[in-house]
Symmetry: C2
Subunit: 126 residues, 2 copies
């Protein structure tokens, strides 16, 4: 993925779409940017428990190249980089919603493990 080995040719829309969302964290990045609108690198990092800097960078660059996310660099010290969804990325997210529903259903039905939400407020008394 590091050098975006563009798959294709595609047989139908499904695999064209799956091609750009495949990757361990792409779905979560989309989700996170959709939920918050704009996120900085470190914020995304925190939102994706277990992701390494390299992977996050790779995924973000790939998604930028695929026209899904927008990257804004502020020439400040310390540096600041903000990510947001492009129009295409937002549309993809919309298209992903039913899939998310199905996934939640599946989690319920099969009682799969769910990681704690790092955005959740800290429980009182801790």
């Amino acid at each position: 993925m590091a050098n975006a080995p563009r798959k294709g040719p595609y047989i139908c829309g499904i695999d064209a779409a799956l091609d750009v969302v495949s990757g361990k964290w792409k779905g979560l990045v989309l989700w996170e940017l959709h939920a918050h609108g704009v996120r900085r690198f470190a914020e995304l990092r925190r939102a994706l428990p277990g992701v390494s800097e390299k992977m996050l960078t790779q995924h973000l660059r790939q998604m930028e190249e695929d026209g899904l996310v927008h990257r804004t660099v502020y020439a400040e010290v310390p540096p600041r980089v903000e990510y947001s969804l492009t129009e295409s990325g937002a549309a993809l997210n919309e298209a992903l919603r039913p899939l998310g529903e199905w996934g939640r259903d599946r989690i319920r039905r099969h009682r799969l493990a769910v990681a704690p939400d790092p955005d959740a407020p800290v429980p009182a008394g801790s």
Copy 2:
């Protein structure tokens, strides 16, 4: 994938869903089974240009384990095995439809390569 290294825990429905559709041919298998209802091993093989027997078997087994496809073996000579979508698989396919739309849009917009449909009728004069 050969031994289904169940990922998770999941952070949201999206990645739970992406987990079961990730794989180079899963989307196409779903598509094919959706379009035709029931397909034999060799039919699926033909429908997925370039897939190796091993990969197809692996994907089908994984999808069976994930409860997406149903596998029926007929004790005949020569052997016959038919695959079809389970209820869950059909629901997944429904959930995948908007994604397919988005993918087709993307193909159009970026003028991406599209493989010829092996199901298409043979052009006259060949």
